[in-house]
Structures are given as C-alpha cells and as structure tokens.
C-alpha cells in the first residue's frame, strides 16, 4: 500500500466518521417518535385481531351464536369450548357457554372465518392482564356477552325493541385512543372497551361459572 493510498484511505475514513456524526446529530434534532405506552396508547386498526368475542344481536339483545361448533372445529389449537342450549320458546339452540383458552390461542382468526352466521368477531382488547391463570385458561367470552346484554336491556326496557333504534348499540365503532387504565381489582384488566357507549363492559367481573343461566351438561375442561 503506497503512502498516497494510505493517506487517501485515512482521509476517506475520517470523512465517513464525520458524515456519520452529522447524521446522528441531525436525527437528534428531530422530535421523538416513541409512544409513551402506559400514558398514551395508539388506536387499534379496524382489522385488528384480538381475542374472539361474541356479537350481540341488536334485535334481541342475545348472542347471535347458535353454538353450531364450526369455530371449535376450525381452531388449530383446540382453544375453544362451546356449548348451547335451547331456550324456552325458541326453536334453535343458542349459546350457553363460550370459553376460550387464551393461553393456547394464537390469534390466527380461523374461528371468525369459519363462522357461518357472523356471530363472532375480534375484540380490540390487547392489553389483557391478570394475576390468575384461570382468567386466561378459561376466558369466559359468554360472560362478557352477558354483561353487554345487561347493558342492552337497560337501554331497551321493552323487548322486542325496534331494530333501527338498537342498531347503534352494537355497531362496532372504530377503536378510540384510550388510556390504559388500571382497573382496580377486576381481572382480567382490559383496556376500556372500544365502544364508548358501554362503559360497564370494560372490566368484566370474574364471576363463578354458575352465573351462566343454563349449562347442565358442561364438559369438564
């Protein structure tokens, strides 16, 4: 290596170092790009795949799901457990138990795709936390629906309600930017529900399974 190339290389090398420092200085002058997570959160996109949830039929205030079990069969990791029962005065079966094993769920979305009656969708909840494993191993989706159903009943005192009036209650609105609150003792703690119209659903109470109305032939999980 001749002296000339050595000097050339040293000069080019030194220049590249200065260029690098200029770039980092330029970047340092720009505003920060991070989201201060617990203090601020981002809205979830419309197609966000959270855990599965049952859809409330705006006409009846009950689940649309008729416990056909196709989602159970579509699930690659056998995370779902669904049971149905016939209610009085109804011809078809309706769901009486909908349990998700969130510890094995891979959020692939096969269940939602498989549903023939569009009775399940993805929730926008993503920061689901709990201290109790059972809150995930036996995540009671039906319980959440019942809570929604109670809300629905409050706004619809006299069933059957006209569908037009009930529509807004169930239309999934885009998720709004929400602050991740520390819902005190309730577990699983979830971010406030995507639909602002239903504040009470944000923290479902981990009630015993007996609260579900009719599930005499529940299989052991």
């Amino acid at each position: 290596m001749s002296l000339k190339t050595a000097i050339r290389e040293t000069y080019d090398g030194f220049k590249s170092l200065i260029t690098g420092m200029r770039i980092t200085a330029r970047e340092a002058a720009k505003p920060t790009i991070t989201v201060q997570y617990p203090h601020e959160t981002l809205p979830m996109p419309d197609r966000f795949r959270g855990h599965v949830k049952l859809i409330l039929d705006p006409a009846t205030g009950q689940a649309k799901c008729n416990a056909c079990g196709l989602c159970v069969r579509a699930c690659p990791s056998n995370s779902l457990e669904v049971d149905g029962a016939k209610r009085e005065g109804e011809k078809r079966k309706s769901v009486s138990k909908y349990e998700l094993d969130f510890t094995t769920c891979s959020l692939c979305g096969c269940c939602v795709e498989a549903c023939p009656s569009d009775a399940i969708e993805y929730s926008k909840e993503y920061n689901v936390v709990s201290r109790d494993r059972d809150d995930f191993a036996k995540m009671d989706i039906y319980k959440r629906l019942q809570a929604e159903s109670e809300e629905w009943k409050k706004t619809h005192p006299t069933p059957p309600a006209p569908p037009a009036e009930a529509a807004p209650a169930a239309t999934p609105t885009p998720a709004t930017p929400v602050a991740a609150t520390s819902s005190p003792a309730a577990a699983p703690v979830v971010a406030p529900a995507a639909t602002p119209a239903k504040p009470a659903t944000s923290a479902p109470v981990p009630a015993p399974a007996a609260a579900s109305p009719a599930a005499p032939e529940q299989k052991p999980t």
């Binding site: 197609r47 692939c108 795709e113």
Partner: protein, 380 residues
Amino acid sequence: MIAEKGLITSGHASDGTHETFTLNLGPQHPAAHGVLRVLMTMDGEWIQRAEPIIGYIHRMHEKMGENRSWAKFLPNTSRIDYLSAMNYTHAYVGAVERALKIEVPERAEYARVITSELNRISSHMVWWGALLLDLGGFTPILYAFDDREKILDLLEGLCGARLTYCYYRFGGLYNDVDDAFLKGTRDFVAHMKPRLTMYRELVTDNIILRKRLTDIGPISADMCRRYGATGPVIRGAGVAYDVRTVEPYSVYPKLKFKIPTYPQADSMARYLVRMDEMEQSLSIIEQALDLIPAGPFMAPKVPRVIKPPAGDYCYAVEAARGRFMVRIVSDGKEIPYRVKLRAPSFSNLSLYEEASKGMILPDALAMMGSLDLVIPDIDR
C-alpha cells in the same frame, strides 16, 4: 489486508503446540440471536473449531402438520421464521394450491407479492439493526425499527396482526387489500428511499464497518452449493441464485427487478446484497402497486374441505434468508401425510463450522451476523 489477517490466523491455529480451551458461547449470549449455542475450541482468541449446537427451541412443526387439517397448519407457517412470515405462508399455501390445481386470482397474487416484499424489507431491517448491534453500534437498530414500524402498521391494518400474519389462504387472501393499505404502501415507498440513503451514509460507508466486514468470513460459491446455502449468502458469493427468477412463482415474472450479487464472497458482500435487495424490493412494490388489478381476492372454487390428491408437491419461495421450500405429501385425506419444511437458516448455519475455522472471535461473530440467522427457523 487479507494476507495480513491470514498470516496472523494461520500462524496460530495450525501450530499444535498451543494450549486450547473450550468457550461455550450461548445458549444465552448477547450475540447469539435467540437460543443458539456454539461450542468453540479456542486458541487464545482464535477459533480452532466452532460447532453450533441447536435444538433449544425445537417445536416439531413438521409433526404438528401431521395431526391437523391442511388449513389448520396455516398459522404454524407464520411461526417458523417470524421475521418473514408472509413468505413462509406463501410457500405452504402455494404447495397446497399446486396440489389442488387452484388458480389464484391476479389481484391476490399481486397483493401477495406486495406483502411478501414488504415483509422482506422489514426482515432485512431487523437483520441490519441486529448485525450492527453485534458489531457494537447501537443506534442503527432503532432507526431501522422506526421504519420497520411503518411496515408493521401497514400490515396490521391489512390483516390485523403485526408479526404472525397468517394472511394468505388457499386460493387467495384472508381479506382484500384496501385502498388505505395501497396508499399507505405508496407513501412508505416514498418515505423509505431517502432513508436507505441515510442508512448508507451512516453505516455502509462507515470506515469502521467496512474494516469489520471486508474480507471477513469468506464463503465461496462452491461452499454455498455444497452446504445448500441460499439467499443473500450465495448471492454474496457472486451467484445470481434467486428462487424468484430460477423457479418463478406468483407474478414475479411480470415484474422487473435485478438480483444483486457481489463476487467478493465476504461478509461485506452479504451485507451489500441485503442493502441492495431492500431497494429492489421497493421497486417491486412500486411496480406491483401500479399493476394490481381490480377483481376478486379469492379463487372461485376452493373446496371447503381441503383434500389434495395423493402425491408429493414442492413449492419454494425466496424468503428473506434464502430458499424456503415446503414439501407436502398427501395421501388424499384431510390431514397431511407429511409436511417437510426446508428452512434456509438451517443450511446457512451448517457451513459455520467450516467457515469459522481459524477466525478470531469478533470476526466469527460478525460473520454469524452476516448470515442473518433466525433460530426458530433453524430449529423449526
């Protein structure tokens, strides 16, 4: 420079009189991305033998494939190489489509190309950041993640997941590409071009990086062939082997792109190949955005229950790390008889023992970084 290094290296490693010791690098080590263990026999800082030991996160995806239906295996394909999940799903979906002789609508194919290439860029960004982290540069990974976040946001808006997309379906897509995605992708391409210039000025031209990668870890074309190393590793050895052109799939034949190759066969060549590939991917995305037709996103006649006719079918794609091939063997039933996943990182790592012989420890780690390993891909 190379003779100099060679002199130091051979002078020590070939001399049998030196006392050696065993250095156990991993399975938890900052330079091993994930749980990779390398058992090194060292002579001072010189490596006499480095044996990668793998299997720490082996999940037996291939067995999982044999006890669930064809469609239920789809989510698994995103979890092999979590950094280029789209490409991997593409290979599996392609194999089943090949068996079922499903004609995928053009819109879906273009959408697959766009998402696959986006995924390739995001994967290369992680590699770029991680390599620089291996070399002791901390800042680039955060710049890369800033830009990568934009890709993840786009893909999340499209299919609802950020990493394990599971977006392709037999015969099409999980849902249609919307205008917001197409526009967002256009914006991203425009945003990314000056950023790549910045990457080059900050890192690629940097004298320290050049000194650390040039002439380090030569992997010749013949060695790639004997070990089955593909992707940027073989292209960095000057061979223009790219599944997208050698075994054209999807709509790649309709798109114009260059296969970047560098003949030096060293770590810098592999580095430059990936940097150029990002540019090429941007150009592919731009073309695909212009060409994407309107129309259905699912093939009209996809059977509800997938039962491919008996036989074996292969489908290879160019994933971010090289050739990923799925070989499915069907016996005509609802459940695969055998799913073989040919992972590129597996072959790319298998040459490490030969290639790292006589290297100094930091160089060996720089070379490992230039191989772009994803450990779940190796272990499957």
